[in-house]
Structure formats: structure tokens, C-alpha cells
Amino acid sequence: MIGMELTKQEQAMLDGKEGYAVCKSMEILVALGEIFGAKSLIKVGSVQVAGVSYQNLGDAGLEFLNELAVDGRVRVLTTLNPAGMDLENWQQLGISPEFAEKQNLVIDAFRRMGILISCTCTPYLIGNLPLYGEHLAWSESSAVTFANSVLGAKTNREGGPSALAAAFVGKTPNYGLHLDENRVPDVHVQVNAELTKLSDWGALGYAIGKKAENKIPYITGIKSVELDDLKSFCASVVTYGTKPLFYMKGVTPGAESQNQPKNTVTIEQSDIKNAYDNINDEVSDIDFVCVGCPHCSIKEIQEIADLINGKKVVEGTELWVATSRTAKQLADKRGYTATIEAAGGKFACDTCMAVAPLKGRFKALATTSAKGCFYSRQSLMKTKMGSMKECVDAAVTGKWNS
């Protein structure tokens, strides 16, 4: 029945010789390998696990994690996606004690498994940095896209249990984006638009996502780009429709050895404007400003601190800076944290607007992130997307002014 070739050790794992968690993990990996036609398992360099927020896991998810945590221990570097709250500062963010208690039990289960408790969608900024060509089992869609397209690593988009399974076995089935034949670009995207601010990259992701749905774009015409732009673009392009892999000429390692597809679509200034029009709602009063989807880099935190220095977040509006704990620690040392908090801003480490239990708390969000707008609709917020300066202005005035 099994079409996949297993080594003796892998077979023993499947037969339960290395305990319950490894056995369950092998069942998952073999079933997925069978479904997608993998011939074997391959070693992974690291794992990034989604399904961390108690809001998405519920009690059943927690129970499942506790069962695995009895004898499941990770064999490779493994980090986590954002949780449903700041693990240290949840009270200040208005999270209920009941939610916090459950969320902490989830985190404890992951800790027992040997996972690094760093809850972030930017693992590549905090020490989980893949190499070119390295195989991974990562979950978070923006991080998967970044790993594949900016770093040139190879990973499918895993669900929570399949990522955990890969961590306990140290391997993943060899299919999908692990195979070069499935990494060939199939649409050429010529960008003729000028991109001048961070949110333009989110808008570009929206525009390309819509025009290249479920495809692998080969992107030309990008004149210059920075790390934070790519971080935002990766989150947006996959949220709005492409596969979690693109080639950007001059950026993606290995792009030069791929053929430019003949089928071409262009992105004009009007497409960028159209993206803003679609993402932005008619709303002028802003009660929630959240930046950091994906999590803010230290450079972005510096920018926020510079913009808000000496000002005050207006009453009735909250400003959240979502970031990794590692970036926050750097910000603490540089004084950025003190500046932002003195202005009334709050840090939301380990969590973000997409996974925190925010439904009903806020009416209108201002953010730099196209992905953030997409997920905040689930929490019934109206959305406005703009530059870091526009967002900080909205926090200070409670209004969107553009």
C-alpha cells in the first residue's frame, strides 16, 4: 500500500518504536506524502509552527498538544507563530484572565516539546534564518513566502499538526515546493508603477495576488526594495492569491536561472490605486492603530519612535506596535520603547491583530499592512491602509486624513 520509500529507522518510527508523538507524526507525514505523491521523506533545517493562538485552537487543540507533549521532543530548531496575546503584557492589552490562562497552557505544551518560545511571523529576523536551497517545514504564509522567494529556501505551507510532525521526526515528505519542477514561474509580472512608501508594497501584493491567482509570478521592473518592503509584500501577495513563491528579478537568488514566462501581465499606477480603493473602507474616525503585520523590524520601531516622539496618542484610540520579543528587547535598549510608551503607545509582542481576540473591541483600524486589513475584517473592523506617518498621525488625532 505504501508508495513512499521509508528507511529502516523511519519504518520503526511509524511502527511506534520511538513513542506516541513520533508514531502519530509519521502517520501524518506518510499520509500527506501518499496524497501528494512524495517518494520519500527529506530532512528539514528548521520548523515554524502555526496554530498557537488559543482563539484558533480551542480546548481540543490544547488537548491534542498536551497529548503530543508527553513524549514529543523536537529534533530541529523550531519556533512559533504569534499567539493570541502578549505573553508578558496581556493585561495592558485588555485580554481576559480566562483567555490568558488557556493561552499559557498552550505555550507550556510547546515549551515541553523543546520549542523555542518566540512567537513571531518573522522567524528570519530572530535567529531562525534558513539557507539558500535548505528544506524547511514552515507554516506562516508570509514567512513561507519570504523563505521561498527572498532567501531561496524550500518549503510548503504547513498546517499546525504537519509542522509539528516534521519537528518531531526532523523530516517532511518531498513534494510540492520542495521539488524544483514545481518551482517554475508561470506568469511574468511587469511592474510599471512607482512604489514610494511601505504600504505601496502591500498594495502591490494585492494587485499581483489578484492578477496571478494560484500562480508563481516572475516579477520585473522593481527598481529598488528594502527588507521591510519585502516583508510586507510577501504577506500581501500570498494573502491575496498567489502561491507562496515568487521570483523578483535582482532579488530572489536563482531568479536568473529561471526563464521569464511568456504570459505577461502588467501592474500600472492605476492597479496600485485600485488596490487602495478596495482595501480602504469609507471611514474617518480611527479607534485602533496597529502596525507590525508582519511583525515590526527594529528599523520600523525606530521609525515609529521618531514619528511619535513628543506627541500623544489621543484618548479613545489605541496604538499597538506588534513585534517579536527579540525586536522589543533591542528597542528597550535603544530607548524606542520608552519614547513610544511615553506617547501612550503599547507594545504587543508575541501576538498580532490577526490572531488576538479582538472581535467587537474596535470599530476602525489604521495600519500599514494589506494583510492586516484582510484579517481584521474577521474581527468586524473597517480598515484604512497607509504609510507609517499616516498611521502615527491617525493615532495622534483619531482621524484618517488623506
Binding site: 501524518i28 500527506l32 481540543a60 498546517g159
Partner: protein
């Protein structure tokens, strides 16, 4: 008695009454894990319970959190007894494995009608119409 062969997603034996749909199912958001009732708007099975049924559907869809929903249904006693798919995908496969629900795919599901008595044994599906 008709016999169909498929591919094992999760091994084991299960018996029950078939509940059949031609539409993919999203367990996360589409099925109430407390009752087992399908709640997705516009779904063929809307309002019907999958509890203790042999659930026959082409494949899963939607969020990967759906795997955890199946697990939650199993713990709540609202899960299907067994599942038969046309072409299983990640969400249902992982859900079946972690919840230990006997599941087969690559079965010609058109041959199964709601109300049929169905028995799954590993890769074999037996029907009594």
C-alpha cells in the same frame, strides 16, 4: 452487497449510515463542533448532523484549523464514525489521523447514497442499499 476499493488515509473499521454530499466541507467555521451540525450557508448538508454517520464528501476545504475541529468533534462525541472522500487533502487527512477516524479516499462516491448502510474496513468500503 457492493464492494468498493480505495486508499487508506487512516486505517480501521467503521460502520454506519451514509450521509453524502457532492460539496467539499470546511470543518472550521462550516460545522458546529458542539453538535456536529453543518452550519455553512448554502451547503447541501446545512442543518444536518454528521454525528455517528459515515460522511461521504469529495474533499475538505478552507482553513487548516479544520483538522483541529475534527479532533474537537471526536472529543465531543459529534464526529462522523468514518469518512469517505473522492480525493482527500491535507486538512481532512490530518484531522482523520489525529482524531483516529477511519478514512478512505479514491472511492467512486457517486455510488453511495444517503441512507445506505456502509462499512469501512481499511481500504475496503462495503455497501448495503
Amino acid at each position: 452487497m457492493e464492494q468498493l476499493k480505495g486508499r487508506i488515509i487512516y486505517k480501521g473499521k467503521a460502520e454506519g449510515e451514509a450521509l453524502v454530499t457532492e460539496m467539499p466541507i470546511s470543518f472550521y467555521g462550516g460545522v458546529d463542533p458542539n453538535t456536529g451540525v453543518v452550519i455553512e450557508k448554502g451547503h447541501q448538508l446545512n442543518g444536518q448532523s454528521v454525528k455517528d454517520k459515515i460522511l461521504v464528501f469529495p474533499q475538505g476545504k478552507g482553513s487548516t484549523v479544520g483538522s483541529y475541529t475534527l479532533y474537537r468533534m471526536k472529543k465531543n462525541g459529534t464526529a462522523p464514525t468514518g469518512m469517505i472522500n473522492k480525493e482527500c487533502e491535507t486538512i481532512v487527512a490530518v484531522g482523520a489521523i489525529i482524531s483516529e477516524i477511519p478514512t478512505v479516499d479514491k472511492v467512486d462516491i457517486c455510488k453511495i447514497k444517503t441512507g445506505d448502510k456502509v462499512a469501512i474496513e481499511n481500504d475496503t468500503v462495503r455497501l448495503r442499499q
